[in-house]
Every structure is written in structure tokens, then in C-alpha cells.
């Protein structure tokens, strides 16, 4: 359905009312956010399972460090890997990775912020002047979007800091080679795995939220268009028609309730 609409040429872009209604009623519209969520979850699970056991391996390795190396004394023969230049290179490599990630996430947050902002502005004008649900979209969504961008920014910053800590700990371990250092790196690495997974989960929630907003805006717009059509109908005394208009007003009341909660 979606593809067929997108592929239409300019000449035959007239979309059949039945097609839109069917898509709307039969899940083309109403289940789209759920489909996006499921798709994200599926991909995330694939990624997670592909590295499954990593955290467990880290844990066992920390444990091994604590017990097997218990008698290791500080200042033991260090070995080739701890040469200053090797340590410096490893640290630099890790630091570069951190900076790259920080930059990538920063850009992503900026992009998402722009997209949400754009959609909000678009959504506001989209329903401006329309009686049905115009108010419900703007106030609540603006508040949520602001919170969302703030949260994403904090997440990115926290994650970058965690990776910097990890890089420093790895650099120190390569140089000092202590059991405490090994355990510290193990804990930090474990936390980093957890944070990355949280980021993935958060991305799914974000996509779901955006899809919900889009669906709200779409439903509001379609309701307003259809309401206008109903109001223009000659047979305004038709009971069903009057009843539907009444239902639309009641839907609007629910929308206003949502907006008043956000105010």
C-alpha cells in the first residue's frame, strides 16, 4: 500500500478513498508504530545475541583476575606490551574511538532534535485552524520532544564519559598491570556494554514515540478533513451523521484533556 502510493506518477496520484480508509482501519495506519517497534526489537535482539556472552566473559575474566592473580605483586616484570610507546598507542586508539563515538552521537542527537522540531512545527501548522485536535498535538508534544532531546543529550554525554574512563583504565592497566586495575577495567567494560545496550533500547523507544506522534497528527488531520466533508453534506439531519459529528467533538474533548495535562 505504502509503496504503491509512493510509486504513483503525477498523473494517477488520485488515491482512492477506499484505499485510504482500508489502510487506516486495517492497520496500515494504526499498527505502524507497533511495526516499527517490533522491527527495532528484532534487530536489537539480533545484535545482542551476536555478542551474547560478552558480559559473562568479562565477569569470569574479572573473577579470574581476582583469584588467579591474587598473589601477583605490583611491579613484576612487565613484558613487551607495557612498553611506553605501546601503551601510548593503545590509549590514543581508545581515545580516538571515544571521540568518534561522541561526535557520531552528538550529530545524531542534533539530527533527531531537528527532526522532532521540524515535525512539531510542521504538525502545528498542519492542524492550525482546524477545529479537531489542533490544540492536542502541539502543547503536549512540544513538552515531550524537549524532554526527549534533553535526555538524548545527557545519554550521549554520559556514554562518552564512560568510554573515556574505560580508555584511561585500559591505558593504566597496560602500564601498571595490577589486579585492581584489571578488576576496574572489567567493571567499566561491563558498564559500557550495559550502557550501549541501553542506548539501543532508547533508540527503539524514540522511534516508537516519533511514530506515535506521526500517527496522532495523521489521524487528527484526516478527522478534520472528513469532518469538513460531513459538515458540507446536505442531509445534515441524518442521525448517523449528527452522531458522528458528536463523537468527533467528544474525541476533541479527550484531546484537550491531554493538552491540559501537558500545560
Amino acid at each position: 500500500m505504502k509503496e504503491s502510493i509512493q510509486n504513483n506518477t503525477a498523473e494517477n496520484q488520485a488515491i482512492k478513498a477506499e484505499e485510504i480508509s482500508e489502510a487506516h482501519v486495517e492497520s496500515g495506519v494504526n499498527t505502524a508504530p507497533e511495526k516499527i517497534t517490533n522491527k527495532g526489537e528484532e534487530r536489537f535482539n539480533q545484535i545482542s545475541s551476536s555478542i551474547s556472552g560478552a558480559r559473562e566473559r568479562v565477569s569470569s575474566w574479572v573473577k579470574r583476575g581476582a583469584t588467579g592473580l591474587g598473589r601477583l605483586f605490583k611491579g613484576a616484570a612487565i613484558g613487551a606490551l607495557s612498553a611506553p610507546e605501546a601503551t601510548g598507542a593503545a590509549y590514543k586508539y581508545a581515545e580516538t574511538k571515544v571521540n568518534n563515538f561522541d561526535k557520531a552521537v552528538g550529530e545524531k542527537v542534533e539530527n533527531i532534535g531537528e527532526v522532532v522540531g521540524y515535525k512539531l512545527a510542521e504538525g502545528a501548522s498542519f492542524v492550525e485552524g482546524v477545529a479537531v485536535s489542533s490544540y492536542e498535538f502541539t502543547a503536549d508534544k512540544a513538552k515531550q520532544a524537549k524532554e526527549f532531546v534533553k535526555t538524548k543529550g545527557e545519554q550521549a554525554s554520559n556514554y562518552a564519559n564512560e568510554k573515556i574512563d574505560l580508555a584511561k583504565a585500559v591505558g593504566s592497566l597496560a602500564k601498571e598491570r595490577t589486579v585492581e586495575g584489571l578488576q576496574s577495567v572489567g567493571n567499566k567494560l561491563s558498564n559500557n556494554f550495559e550502557s550501549t545496550k541501553k542506548y539501543g533500547k532508547s533508540a527503539i523507544e524514540t522511534a516508537t514515540l516519533r511514530a506515535w506522534y506521526a500517527r496522532d497528527a495523521f489521524n487528527s488531520k484526516m478527522n478534520s478533513i472528513k469532518k469538513s466533508i460531513l459538515e458540507r453534506k446536505a442531509e445534515m439531519q441524518n442521525e448517523k451523521l449528527q452522531q458522528t459529528l458528536s463523537k468527533l467533538r467528544q474525541m476533541e474533548t479527550v484531546g484537550n484533556l491531554e493538552a491540559s495535562m501537558a500545560a
Binding site: K2, I5, A14, I15, K16, A17, H24, N30, I36, G40, R43, S50, A54, R57, V58, W61, L69, A76, L81, A90, A94, F101, K108, V115, F126, D140, L166, V170, L173, A174, L182, V185, N192, F193, T196, K197, Y199, G200, A203, T206, A207, R210, A211, A214, R215, F218, N219, M222, I225, K226, I229, K240, T244, S246, Q250, M251, V254, L257, M261, A262
Partner: protein
């Protein structure tokens, strides 16, 4: 409007008894009106409205606004899916890099153990 007032509002509304039953079920265990509750309620109401529009033969064929709205919605969903895929790629890349760090540190750990053995000889 509190949760009880919301229940009363729907009982007195024009929505069908079937919809009211579904709404009652949704609101039964709720103690307050939250955005999540409202979102669920709106989904249910929208289904009945869509059925009404269909029954009343609301014709939006050739309606440019409706076409634009449909296209806008489709484009937005495509954009959301694209962003989500990018996010997942980033997560995958990060996890793989962390796995590399883990291997590196694991190697250091092994060498520390080897040193310990050498020391004990």
C-alpha cells in the same frame, strides 16, 4: 478530569456499547488519567470514527489535503525506520568495539598470569 469523570464521560458519550465496553475494560484498573491512558482511549475511539466515516461514505477521493497527509505520514514512517536502522548500526559498531577492548584486556590478563608463572619458577 479524573479517572472516574473520564469513565462517566464515555458512558454518556455517543460511542457504541461495544466501544464503551472496551473502554471500561481499559479504564477499570486505572487510578489516574495519564498520557498513556489517553493514547489508548484515542486509539479505540478512532477505530469507531473510521468505521463511521466509511459507513457514511465520506469521500476523500481527489482530496489534495488527504493525499498530502497520507504522503506525509508515509514519508515520516520511512524516515523513522531509517533513523532507527542507523541507531542500531551505531549500537552494533559500539558493541563490536567493546568486544575488541575486551579481547585486548583479556590478552593483558593472560600475560599477567604468564608473568606470575615465570616469577614463580
Amino acid at each position: 478530569m479524573n479517572i472516574q469523570e473520564l469513565r462517566d464521560f464515555f458512558i454518556a458519550s455517543d460511542y457504541s456499547s461495544e466501544t464503551k465496553t472496551v473502554l471500561s475494560g481499559i479504564l477499570a484498573d486505572k487510578t489516574e488519567v495519564t498520557p498513556g491512558v489517553i493514547s489508548q482511549v484515542k486509539d479505540i475511539l478512532q477505530k469507531e470514527l473510521d468505521a463511521d466515516f466509511k459507513e457514511l461514505g465520506v469521500d476523500i477521493e481527489g482530496n489534495e489535503e488527504a493525499q498530502m497527509a497520507q504522503k506525509e505520514y508515509n514519508d515520516t514512517l520511512v524516515s523513522i525506520e531509517k533513523d532507527l536502522a542507523e541507531d542500531m548500526n551505531l549500537v552494533e559498531k559500539e558493541l563490536n568495539e567493546l568486544e575488541e577492548v575486551r579481547k585486548t584486556v583479556s590478552k593483558i590478563s593472560d600475560e599477567m598470569e604468564a608473568d606470575k608463572i615465570r616469577q614463580s619458577i
